[in-house]
């Protein structure tokens, strides 16, 4: 143990050139600005702070983790892990669902941060352990390149002045030049462009100023190109508004496949449409939150469980929608003809059983090298949701008929 005096002395003399004026900065700050620019990002749902970057240098402030950390949750139950903010809420696009749109009929005040101010707030929240880092988005202002330059200036201050090593998610605005994207890619963990809709035609229904191919897909392609040269620690992601233009879940699924296969995306995020007062779409009804949930399950089956496209297609109805049921169960009922013996099924076969996930499938495969599985309790101890899995498994000779299985799963 070191004495308290000694540690206080060490901390107090360490070189740190940013002390003294914090209090003053915060006295002058306009809280309604923090509120307005924070609200501008509340529908941006990518709050993950997990990254593959490893911080091992001395003389830096902060670190990152593989799992990410939630520092709070809103009353929506959603994770708050970053200071998610717009740089400015001034925007010259006319997206019909958005409160920063030129079509917006309500009254609102225009706010902007200065790079210095935004960096300072980020550092202070970070040192208070409220956040893992900064999620920086913005209205495009009068010119997307000019505002991006200021956003990048913020990252530079964080980097050069504060030696900040925490997490950074940087939004690439539609139409931004390659050179700026390249600069941002050198400082950010994650880059994203919001595609908003599954195709060109759907986007043109929502906005007359954004071009799907040249403003959005082309920028995604730039990011992919940069990623091929140098790994982006937390990859590229995107986000869709679900249900603002009548698109089906299958339309979304097709786009999602392209995003993963052609653009090398790490994640696609889905946000169900909720009408905002005084926007052009205020009269359109809100989408049920479960639609988002089922889309994520579909996404998971493809990305994590490695289900094939054709298997997943089974879950969509004739109009191309998912119903409010677990798609994995639905697929299993329609494809698993005979019961599966956990003692000899492959990892992939186990994964297709409802109630068995990647972790429990991995455990089963390892466990059975030395043991025989003959009772439900063993599966329970391996983390299987036995109630869901039993109708599909052969355990010690016992198995369900196909009919029993349908009946048994009715209640799930």
């Amino acid at each position: 143990m070191t004495s308290l005096e000694k540690i206080v002395h060490l901390a107090n003399q360490s070189e740190y050139d940013c002390i003294g004026d914090e209090g003053k900065i915060f006295q002058n700050i306009d809280l309604s600005k923090i509120d307005a620019l924070g609200q501008g990002t509340k529908h941006d749902i990518c709050t993950s702070s997990s990254t593959r970057r490893v911080v091992d240098q001395n003389e830096v402030l902060g670190d990152v983790t593989k799992s990410g950390i939630c520092h709070s949750f809103t009353a929506n139950g959603r994770c708050v892990s970053m200071f998610k903010t717009l740089f400015t809420n001034y925007c010259t696009h006319d997206c019909k669902y958005c409160q920063n749109s030129t079509d917006y009929k309500g009254s609102k005040s225009i706010y902007s941060y200065t790079p210095e101010e935004l960096a300072r707030i980020t550092i202070s929240l970070y040192k208070g352990n409220y956040i893992e880092g900064l999620f920086l988005s913005s209205g495009v202002s009068s010119d997307e390149d000019l505002i991006t330059e200021k956003m990048i200036e913020t990252l530079k201050i964080l980097n050069d002045k504060y030696n900040f090593a925490g997490y950074i998610h940087f939004k690439v605005l539609p139409g931004v030049s390659y050179e700026y994207i390249k600069q941002a890619s050198e400082m950010a963990d994650r880059l994203s462009v919001n595609i908003e809709t599954p195709s060109k035609n759907y986007l043109s229904e929502l906005s007359s100023t954004k071009n799907y191919v040249s403003d959005i897909l082309k920028r995604q392609h730039y990011i992919k190109k940069l990623e091929l040269q140098k790994e982006l620690p937390a990859g590229q992601t995107t986000q869709l508004v679900v249900g603002a233009c009548g698109e089906s879940d299958f339309d979304i699924f097709k786009r999602t496949l392209k995003e993963y296969k052609e653009m090398m995306l790490k994640r696609v995020y889905y946000s169900v449409f909720n009408p905002i007062t005084a926007t052009s779409l205020e009269g359109l009804s809100a989408q049920p939150t479960w639609r988002e949930h089922r889309l994520y399950q579909m996404d998971w089956l493809y990305r994590v469980y490695k289900f094939s496209e054709n298997e997943i297609k089974i879950a969509f109805d004739e109009e191309g929608f998912l119903n409010n049921k677990d798609p994995k169960l639905f697929i299993a009922l329609n494809t698993l003809d005979s019961s599966i013996d956990p003692n000899d099924a492959s990892y992939d076969e186990l994964l297709r059983v409802p109630g068995i996930g990647p972790k429990s499938a991995y455990r089963i495969v390892n466990y059975r090298k030395k043991n025989k599985i003959y009772k439900r309790e063993q599966l329970l101890n391996l983390g299987v949701r036995v109630k869901n899995a039993t109708p599909f498994l052969k355990i010690n000779g016992g198995e369900y008929s196909r009919l029993d299985r349908w009946v048994g799963c009715q209640t799930q």
Binding site: C70, R78, G128, L379
Partner: protein, 199 residues
């Protein structure tokens, strides 16, 4: 983290461990812990899980105020014996800052620089230690950004997506109390009150 700390080291941090489990835990690897269906090892897995889960929550929910921007202090009263570990994790995250975490009965301090830790522990109260530190550096210039946080936190709320069940699941009162987390605890109580008829 799990690679550098052994199964039994984690288990030892649990507030309540039978000796028999401790003996078993010294003989098993992380791989065995994760794949076994043996009922004793499954018990160990749960106990280790409790510890790791509390560490994770403390890393998320603890809040710091600062004195002179170099000394970060906050309230923490964990259920398991993780005070030292969590304080060190923060010291490493905020290198060259002094980290002080504690409650009415125990204080842990840590300072990380040039790949080594300086540590201090005391069974005094956090308030007492903070007063002492302020005297030592001759300053009580506290930076409090709770207000900025509150405005930002409220800005993220979407009325149409209210989901109290999920909120309670993710932010259990137990953890908010053990990190002295005022803002969310207030919200937590406020929203709970709405469900209790006042008359």
């Amino acid at each position: 983290m799990s690679d550098s700390i052994s199964v039994s080291e984690y288990l030892l941090m649990n507030k309540n461990v039978p000796t028999i489990l401790l003996e078993i835990s010294t003989k098993i690897s992380w791989h065995e812990l994760n794949t076994s269906a043996d009922s004793e090892i499954v018990k160990i897995r749960r106990k280790v899980g409790e510890v790791r889960s509390e560490i994770h929550r403390m890393r998320g929910f603890v809040r710091f105020n600062s004195i002179n921007d170099k000394i970060l202090f906050g309230y923490m009263k964990p259920e398991h014996k993780i005070g030292r570990l969590v304080t060190d994790i923060f010291a490493r995250r905020f290198q060259k800052n002094m980290i002080i975490l504690g409650n009415d009965h125990m204080v842990w301090a840590s300072y990380y620089s040039d790949n080594s830790y300086r540590r201090y522990e005391d069974s005094k109260s956090l308030d007492e230690i903070i007063e002492k530190v302020k005297l030592l550096i001759g300053s009580d210039n506290e930076v409090d950004i709770e207000k900025i946080w509150q405005v930002y936190y409220d800005s993220q709320y979407i009325k149409e997506r209210e989901n109290h069940r999920l909120f309670y699941k993710n932010m259990p009162k137990k953890h908010l109390k053990s990190t002295g987390n005022n803002i969310e605890l207030k919200l937590n109580t406020r929203t709970l009150d709405e469900y209790i008829p006042t008359d």
